[in-house]
């Protein structure tokens, strides 16, 4: 339904996904970014906020303010939007399991600012289903999670009509390994699952259901194969139009539009020669802007140095300028759709649609998206695709400049500055946040808090929409941890399938792997029993793709691998190491809390008399930290530049040999 006229297209919303340390520090960053020409906000919350823990919860240790801003209560939320009038802002919040709560806080702050809540504009991501598959910030089982999603949608359609209540995400599916076909199929199947749930909940009258359909928006990924990505978006547009018309009988074509925001791919950003990421990001942006009929409504770009650590304000400014150059300097927005009528594009779009329809039919046969998450089908498919991608990089079929080809490089002036080219989070931020939380709790009216929580429990237990009770909680001064705990009590907690294929079917071949397998076997004989490896994901970070790939590869290399999934405490990891009698522990940490977590795990191991167990750490770990970890006793540190998994496997065997006093490889 794109306009074919020559009227200049309006530029998309320009955002930067940001937030760190504290509400105060983030507020300053937002106001600076807005003054630089950013047209919307995209809030990154820290992991405790995303998983429903207060900043002083034991699981929050080391995570407060790391990957986003900590929001414990209405006071934090008010500071976050200080001097930013919410009725004139367009705010996107990447929040899922606790989405109703953060929206409740947002509404309560808008009220305090004197704004009319019904005028609010923005987006809550509110797509828990993909959290089970990737990213991992789910809390509750699928059934109550879908109910919370549904409640939020029904509430906003009635009360905040311009709000985008859910952003169905294919972004994280691509990060988890999804092919374009899988991205289409899984995202659309998720949207169907959500819309069906809203319809079946009976919260919205039949005559208004069109409006619900019209409010569903998407959040997609754009990778470096930008021609295929463009075709993928054209396929999305066509398939959504068809689904909304046929399945939901939506008459109004405007309400059938595929509206989406985008963050271009971070998975493909490299640690080696990181300056090359700039051209990657620009090309990926082309993929979501080139075709006017399938153009993004909002774009946020990662910074060039994301694989190294947290970006600084200057790095984020650079990313914003890329958008501005494309929108304001080039002539892209002056034309109608450049690709309409191209037979090449048309053929590609059609083949993506055919593939996606096939996979969607399979999901429907298996009982829908929720069933396919619970039975592990989708996760297994994703892990397989991801494994295939990594094998292709290893054997050179997939070329990545500076990583597996054209590796020779001069020293980069960008990373040789004092700060190594990344942002250092204020060490005192967590302590200050916890102290402020204690002060907040002391000054609030406990009677009001208790009453609000009792009402919340009643709503959760029954079938009343969760939003009004949540907004009352926000006003009363309830904390993030308290709100979540009530729902944890009522709904229970969930552990998702890991997708790591347990059927015992091993894959992988090649001389390098065979050599490692030989060595694993020989070392097992030498130490008397098969080599056992514990893969642990401590902390709240749920990005498990790396840990899963290592687990699969280690299995293929002949290790017996114990993998328990995400969000483990240091005590659980140490305990598993003892009970399972492992020879080596591998930790994966991507949230930046590696220093605290590794130290805590050493303490727990020492208490069990296992201080001698060798330990390796993988993740986004700055070089400076790497030195400190090695001094603490960590046997090796693997970062995104360690792309050859066979080499990682070989290193792990040698570390075990070394710890048993066996000779190591020459």
């Amino acid at each position: 339904m794109s306009e074919q006229g020559t009227e200049r297209d309006r530029p998309w919303l320009m955002r930067t996904y940001s937030g760190h340390s504290s509400a105060r520090a983030s507020n300053e960053l937002y106001r600076t970014n807005l003054s630089k020409g950013q047209t919307g906000l995209s809030v990154a919350f820290d992991l405790p906020t995303q998983t429903g823990y207060d900043s002083d919860h034991p699981l929050a240790r080391g995570e407060v303010g790391k990957v986003g801003v900590p929001i414990d209560h209405i006071g934090d939320m008010a500071i976050l939007f200080d001097q930013i009038p919410l009725d004139r802002m367009n705010t996107s919040m990447t929040i899922n399991a606790t989405a109703p709560w953060l929206l409740a806080l947002y509404i309560a702050v808008a009220e305090k600012q004197g704004a009319d809540p019904s005028a609010l504009q923005g987006t809550t991501q509110n797509d828990v289903l993909k959290e089970y598959l990737s990213r991992g910030t789910y809390i509750f089982p699928p059934e109550p999670s879908v109910r919370l999603t549904t409640d939020l949608i029904a509430y906003t359609v009635d009360n905040i009509p311009k709000w985008n209540p859910t952003n169905v995400c294919s972004y994280h599916l691509q990060e988890a390994g999804a092919t374009p076909t899988q991205e289409l199929a899984y995202a659309l199947s998720t949207a169907i699952e959500i819309l069906d749930a809203v319809r079946d909940s009976g919260q919205v009258g039949e005559e208004r259901f069109e409006e619900v359909v019209g409010r569903i928006s998407f959040f997609v990924n754009a990778g470096i194969r930008f021609v295929e990505e463009t075709c993928k978006l054209r396929a999305f547009v066509r398939m959504w139009d068809e689904i909304t018309a046929r399945r939901y009988g939506v008459q109004n074509p405007k309400l059938r539009r595929f509206r989406y925001g985008v963050q271009v791919n971070s998975l493909g950003l490299t640690e080696s020669q990181p300056e090359n990421n700039v051209q990657r990001i620009v090309l990926e942006m082309l993929g979501v802007t080139l075709s006017r009929g399938a153009r993004a409504r909002a774009i946020q770009l990662p910074a060039w140095n994301e694989a190294l650590g947290l970006p600084r304000p200057w790095d984020q400014q650079w990313a914003l300028r890329m958008q501005q150059v494309l929108a304001f300097e080039t002539d892209l927005l002056e034309y109608g759709d450049l690709l309409d009528g191209s037979p090449v594009v048309e053929a590609k779009v059609q083949s993506l649609i055919d593939g996606a329809r096939e996979e969607m039919a399979r999901i429907e046969d298996l009982g829908g998206m929720v069933a396919c998450i619970d039975n592990g089908h989708v996760k297994r498919e994703l892990v397989q695709s991801h494994t295939a991608r990594i094998r292709a990089i290893e054997n050179g079929d997939l070329q990545i400049v500076g990583v597996n080809c054209f590796k020779q490089t001069a020293d980069s002036p960008l990373t040789s500055e004092d700060d190594s080219g990344i942002l250092k989070v204020d060490e005192g931020a967590e302590r200050e946040q916890v102290a402020a939380l204690e002060r907040f709790r002391a000054q609030r009216n406990q009677g009001e808090v208790d009453a609000a929580l009792a009402d919340l429990r009643a709503a959760a237990t029954g079938s009343t929409n969760i939003m009004p009770a949540s907004i009352a909680c926000a006003r009363a001064g309830v904390t993030t941890g308290e709100w979540s705990q009530v729902l944890r009590d009522v709904f229970g907690e969930y552990r998702a399938p890991t997708g790591v294929d347990f059927s015992g079917k091993a894959g992988g071949s090649g001389d390098a792997l065979a050599a490692v397998r030989e060595r694993v076997h020989a070392t097992g004989e030498a130490v008397g029993r098969p080599l056992r490896l514990l893969i642990g994901k401590p902390g709240l970070d749920g990005h498990s793709n790396g840990a899963e790939q290592i687990a699969v590869k280690a299995r293929d290399a002949g290790f017996e691998v114990v993998y328990e999934g995400i969000r483990l405490t240091p005590a659980q990891i140490a305990r598993a190491a003892q009970e399972e009698g492992v020879h080596l522990i591998g930790l994966s940490v991507l949230s930046g809390s590696h220093m605290e977590l590794v130290e805590d795990i050493y303490c727990e191991l020492e208490q069990l008399g296992l201080g001698h167990l060798p330990l390796v750490v993988g993740g986004i770990i700055p070089q400076e930290d790497e030195q400190v970890l090695r001094k603490r006793g960590v046997a090796d540190v693997f970062t995104p530049k360690d792309i050859d998994m066979n080499t990682i496997m070989a290193r792990m065997v040698e570390i075990i040999r070394d710890s048993h006093g066996l000779d190591s490889a020459a």
Partner: protein, 326 residues
């Protein structure tokens, strides 16, 4: 100073329920080097001398993949802990015959309080060589029994493993899934060893679950071939925590029923384990040199030595006999 791991001391620490000792004992029992096997034999001998075979409860739980065994185990563990029982778990996952590698994922679904010292879970790969269960399961069960009140052996799959587990556990439990006719057909056709307890999991599936339940009731309820035991057919929902108490009660009732025969039953299982290992190593011809299965079993039932020393002695006897043949 690291704790003493000499067999006699290790046995004492194990009987006192020390977690570090249990971990060490399981590592040692896994160790295939000859010095370690000797130490393991001495350890098992010390445990057997203490009467471990007449204590505790060894429960085998099995069923097809995806039926929710681990979630059910997790719910059972919580119930046993509430009853004040210490629980050990041996979770067996298949391994790859090609690479020897395995992914051991059962812990994922068995959530226990990390501060609770009354639960100990060891995952094992089936390691291909010994039918369905790994050869280490029996010796490890003895170590687990020394330190726990209840020991659960969990295995996946249909076929050989059920038979193995029926020859290892005091009580076997088969978990069936509503709507999956296969396992029920297998049971009815007598392809599977008949368990002591049958449970239909996922009773939250409503009508389908009730149908599976009544089908099993019709087909299997009745007296177990062991005699004196009516097979209970139960409904449970691990995810909702329903029917778990009744399941734990059924296990306890069976344990009570077999109490007079418990040690003899375990000696038979131990003999079976030895026979199976020897068969795997030497084939029928080797076993015939000892006078065949029946003679061997009769001989082993009368003996009291630890299984590892026994195994080594029998290996030597067969090797000698085979050499004389030549």
């Amino acid at each position: 100073m690291p704790p003493d791991t000499a067999p006699a001391t290790l046995a004492q620490r194990l009987l006192a329920g020390e977690r570090g000792a249990l971990a060490e004992a399981l590592n040692q029992l896994d160790d295939q080097r000859s010095a370690a096997i000797e130490r393991s034999g001495a350890l098992l001998a010390a445990l057997l001398a203490d009467g471990v075979l007449s204590r505790g409860h060894l429960i085998g739980i099995t069923g097809p993949p995806g039926v929710g065994k681990s979630t059910l185990s997790s719910a059972l563990i919580a119930t046993w802990r509430r009853r004040g029982l210490r629980v050990g778990v041996l979770a067996v996952d298949p391994s790859s015959p090609v690479t020897g590698g395995a992914l051991l994922g059962d812990r994922l679904r068995m959530q226990v309080d990390p501060a609770d010292d009354g639960v100990f879970i060891r995952s094992l790969s089936s390691r291909g060589e010994f039918g369905g269960l790994s050869a280490e399961v029996w010796p490890m069960s003895i170590a687990m029994l020394a330190a726990n009140d209840v020991v659960l052996i969990e295995t996946v799959g249909v076929g050989q493993r059920e038979i193995d587990i029926a020859h290892s556990a005091d009580t076997t439990c088969f978990v069936a899934q509503p709507g999956s006719g296969d396992s029920i057909q297998f049971l009815k056709a007598g392809i599977l060893e008949v368990p002591h307890v049958l449970v239909v999991n996922k009773s939250d599936m409503g009508e389908t679950a009730r149908r599976a339940h009544s089908e099993l009731l019709g087909a299997l309820a009745g007296e177990h071939a062991d005699g004196g035991w009516d097979i209970p057919v139960l409904l449970a929902s691990a995810s909702r925590g329903e029917g778990i108490e009744a399941l734990a009660d059924a296990f306890a009732a069976h344990r009570e029923q077999i109490a007079p025969d418990l040690e003899a039953r375990r000696r038979r299982h131990q003999a079976h384990w030895l026979e199976k290992r020897l068969l795997a190593d030497f084939g029928q011809r080797g076993l015939d040199r000892l006078g065949g299965s029946e003679a061997l079993l009769a001989r082993l039932n009368a003996k009291t030595a630890d299984p590892l020393s026994e195994y080594r002695a029998l290996c030597a006897e067969i090797t000698n006999a085979l050499q004389q043949d030549q």
